[in-house]
Symmetry: C2
DNA sequence: TTGTATGCGTTATCAG
DNA sequence: CTGATAACGCATACAA
């Protein structure tokens, strides 16, 4: 059994109410009593029991975060973006990862009821409309990278469509007339949006550009396999756009194994712009996504939802084209980060 | 205001107690009543209030995880290792990242009192002995990658020393007589242990091998800078061991920029064996650390500590030497993962 | 099989 | 300025 506020009260010779007031700075307390309470508290090494406090204050100071299985550094970076922002505002993060499908999400969300002041939910497999049915009505929610068409949730999404559109346009502008795309995991929302951007760009060109597609799964191995598939075609593409960087790395490896040079024979581009990309050889062209900021922004939106000081907003996180050597751009290979003199 | 157990009781026309019993399966309930309760519960979309329940059951079903600022994929992978294991056992993870120094840890730990059933604490900057003073006596704790000499905590540590020793020995066995090391972040426990392994291996060789060291910080940029420093020496090393893979990538990039070939002129090895390593060119030799398993094991130790079915254990997570092309080994570059036929 | 009463640790309310 | 008391939502010993 651990030290409670009553132990402190007894030791200080006052009531629990007074201890609460003295420690929380709420209400008036005489200097003498305050000192006695503080002494007793620290001698006993008393720490308030968060759960009990939450029950009455109706605040938990915790945000629930429900994430699916995530690929690569995304998981890491999104949490890294959230945690400092949350901490600034006095919140901790209650994590629940590895969820797919409505049933699991529903369960995770349920388990969080009464333990969190708000939730950030990412479920690229489940649409916002379906989520609406299983989310508690009394807790503010921000959706992350979900299909939110027709829902009233606050949400922040990566501009997957815009990024893919821009990169594909760039490849075509470089003169490529046969452009391939290696898709992300099947059914994944990000993957779908990136594909949509690719197709839109190809469609813009009318019949002038021939687009081809190969299935992928966001892994290096998947990119390796898919690149081989594309390369075996009768008229293989001269540029390959991969739905993420991991697959781009696999793709480059596969092309090299088949004796094709990057970017001389085939241009390759990725999506995400992972930190290591600029150090690869050739350095990797990619669509930069500031995942960190994505997480941070989600926390901010949630804070607004809780404070009620702003209407629900559905935002798009802009992406940025990063052209390096792997697609023949005027890149910076080898790299010289700014702090190298 | 949200739905409580009383609302369900009213709607089902029974007492609160009966609802509790029916829903939790504790105690006898007539089939008829059970059905009525379940109906009312789902119609009202009732979800028990975790906080309130915790107060009386004295279980929160939450593990606290206190992590420092972490480099690269470590953060991601360690959580990825913990989460599924924790979930298997019905626990969620309450995260508190970005902590350094005793004060901050102490604060984070305090904020978790009463909200968690156990804690996993990683504080490479603070020794277990010092931690002992600020950790609550009534909550089970597992230490992760800490200096635990002389403490009674359960702990799991990466075998940094053994891994660095083995890799340095390997480099010497390849015939290198001038071996350099690029260190990790200053004061970091992992970094210190890896350095200790390096020095031990060099010492074993007597005067036959000349070891040199350069400060680093676990980042690509730091590795780039440090490699330049080592290369500028009068007798530059013919092999460079980097305290992690990120720095190895930076180092290779720097050496290439100076016109030195890897591994022909200089061998390079890293530590961690990040997934992308085998796809680099040249593929990266490294000391494999199964961070995922590290997290999983920490959760298991914590479960044992809670159940009291095993004495506190201080374990070492074994590492594995992965020799690829970057240090001239008979590596597998380009890579052909097994599933490529 | 069901209900009543009590308590978990804390803060809020209202008297003193 | 201080203290007794209720309440938060739930589970449990005990009574019926």
């Amino acid at each position: 059994m651990s030290i409670t506020i009553r132990d402190v009260a007894e030791r200080a010779g006052v009531s629990v109410t007074t201890v609460s007031r003295a420690l929380n700075g709420t209400g008036p307390v005489s200097p003498d009593v305050r000192r006695r309470v503080e002494a007793a508290s620290s001698e006993l090494r008393y720490v308030p029991h968060g759960t009990a406090r939450s029950l009455i204050t109706r605040r938990t100071d915790v945000f629930g975060v429900v994430l699916p299985d995530l690929f690569g550094e995304f998981f890491s970076e999104v949490i890294r973006g959230m945690d400092p922002r949350a901490q600034e505002r006095g919140y901790h993060l209650l994590l629940s990862g590895s969820h797919d499908g409505r049933r699991e999400i529903e369960f995770a969300v349920g388990a969080m009821r009464g333990r969190v002041d708000g939730m950030i939910v990412m479920s690229p497999g489940v649409s916002g409309a379906r989520l609406e049915g299983c989310l508690p009505p009394d807790v503010p929610v921000v959706l992350l990278n979900c299909d939110v068409s027709g829902t009233a949730f606050s949400a922040i999404n990566v501009d997957n469509y815009g990024g893919a559109l821009a990169m594909t346009r760039h490849l075509m502008a470089m003169g490529h007339r046969r452009v391939g795309m290696i898709n992300g995991a099947e059914g994944n929302f990000d993957a779908l949006e990136r594909l949509r951007g690719f197709r839109a760009a190809v469609a813009e060109a009318g019949g002038a550009v021939q687009g081809s597609e190969a299935p992928g799964d966001f892994t290096e191995a998947g990119g390796y396999r898919a690149a081989g598939e594309l390369a075996r075609a009768a008229d293989p593409p001269t540029a390959i756009f991969c739905a993420n960087d991991s697959m781009a790395v696999g793709a480059i490896s596969a092309l090299r194994a088949r004796g094709r040079r990057v970017p001389d024979d085939v241009a390759v581009a990725g999506f995400d712009d992972v930190p290591i990309g600029r150090y690869l050889s050739p350095s990797l062209s990619s669509v930069r996504v500031d995942v960190n900021r994505l997480g941070a922004r989600a926390v901010e939106l949630l804070c607004h939802a809780i404070a009620g000081d702003a209407p629900p907003a559905q935002e798009l996180l802009p992406t940025e084209l990063v052209v390096r050597r792997s697609c023949g751009g005027g890149g910076d290979d080898p790299p010289f980060p700014q702090d190298f003199r």
